[in-house]
Subunit: 290 residues, 2 copies
């Protein structure tokens, strides 16, 4: 299957990400249908013209007509949905997702697929600190990464389709990782940073914070406004990798504390030099085009 204007696209879950997908795809001329929980989300999306059809009822016919279905749901809701309605998906349909953890979800979903249906997982590395289709905005994909995490059960055609979707949505870079490598990476690059932001915010309650703060604190705590239902679920689904990254980071912070306590200026500077080099390399790295 190739992604073209005849592809019947169904989005399940019209929140911030699902809504942003709908926006991007409709702009590119695709016809997008959707199933979501609340009628007000359907109404909003129709009034904005970002879907061609929407309903709160998971109708077998609608599900059965989809060539490509994108699930933009919480992990456990995705699994529950597939248990109930997955059987209506047609042979040859490809389904994908936006879930922030991969190993557990990929295994679970692939094990429950009806015959002839393929699940190819993906993680759009984009978001905002607000929720709902009302805040959807496809410009969040512009400088962001899209990671596809195929397994040996996936066909090259489905991998290609999923990467096409990433490019079509407007992501700056489309990468490929195994589900395991993805989860380790995400533990470091996203989950650990969210833990740090939360712990930094709960460390002290400074009245009149805003009068004294500089940019660094603002930057580090932007993500401390956090959707507790989603993130607690993601953390627990990836707890082994996440705990190992928290320990790694805590060890480095403790090393720094030791150098400060011992007035070990040379070692302190050495850590800062490594940090500066790595961060500078990161700024310079060019996006790698596929």
């Amino acid at each position: 299957m190739k992604l073209d204007k005849n592809t019947n696209i169904l989005i399940v879950g019209l929140g911030l990400l699902g809504g942003s997908y709908a926006r991007a795809l409709t702009k590119k001329g695709f016809s997008v249908k959707c199933i979501t929980r609340s009628q007000s989300s359907v109404d909003y999306a129709l009034s904005e013209g970002i879907i061609s059809f929407g309903t709160t009822v998971p109708e077998p016919e609608l599900i059965g007509a989809a060539d490509l279905a994108v699930f933009a749901l919480y992990p456990h809701v995705f699994v529950e949905w597939m248990e109930k309605y997955g059987k209506y998906l047609k042979k040859g349909a490809v389904i994908t997702d936006v879930t922030g953890v991969k190993k557990c979800i990929v295994e679970k979903i692939q094990d429950m697929l009806p015959e002839g249906v393929e699940f190819i997982a993906a993680h759009p590395m984009a978001g905002r600190e607000v929720y709902g289709v009302q805040n959807s905005d496809d410009s969040i994909f512009k400088e962001a990464n899209y990671i596809v995490t195929p397994t040996e059960k996936n066909t090259p055609e489905a991998v290609r389709l999923c990467k096409d979707l990433g490019h079509t949505l407007g992501f700056a870079h489309v990468a490929e990782l195994t589900p395991e490598a993805h989860d380790d990476m995400i533990a470091y690059l996203s989950q650990l940073t969210h833990c740090i932001a939360v712990a930094l915010m709960t460390s002290s309650d400074v009245p009149k914070l805003k009068e004294y703060t500089g940019d660094s604190f603002r930057d580090l705590t932007r993500i401390a406004r956090i959707n507790e239902d989603m993130w607690s679920e993601l953390f627990l689904l990836n707890k082994k990798s996440l705990i190992s990254m928290i320990d790694e980071f805590s060890g480095e912070l403790y090393r720094m504390r030791t150098y400060i306590a011992d007035d070990n200026v040379e070692k302190l500077k050495e850590m800062m030099r490594i940090s500066t080099e790595r961060r500078a390399a990161f700024d310079k790295t060019k996006m790698i085009e596929e």
Copy 2:
């Protein structure tokens, strides 16, 4: 003394901050002279028209003519400078600084002042990840905080002068703290965040980092490009407060790790709710005008 166009302003140290002060003050019609280490900085500042006179030689006459002297130097360089040339400051002169720690520097400098000279410390909470007068930019003050840290040795006139300077430079908010409260605050809001960014960067060396990362990691490590000479000095000068903040934060992160390890969803969510509330309040707080 009041800050007006006849005030003879001398900036000692024409780096990123000294240069940005010179830029802001010259734009407002003040005549700014400067003493700095490198002739190329003087040449650049003259060619940009942001100083009226500059030299690399600490001439007694130039120092003696200053009504207001701003020291934009590393803490230990500031102390050394005062030991050598402080004696040339005239009676009635007021001096201020930009140092990121206060208690130790305020005590040291106030103890070595010639009679009739007053030191009133200040901390402009603004900066960039690049250095030198060539990168100076007074727009960095626009949404930033300026903290004055007077002691019982300061006169109300000098406190007022120093606050006037903060407003004249264009800071959004001018606040007042004791040197001790400042150092505790800065350990939390600025030094700890820099330690975290460095430790986060040294925790793992991910090849192709840029292909996988999202905004949160970018935001948290922006300040991981760090001037190791300046920050190691600032950390050690404030080590008691800083170590106590590192311990506080590490304890919170460990608490979170425990909740994750124990699948304690309720406690995990509770931490996230507190973090979200505090961060949201921070976004909403209006700047308090004096």
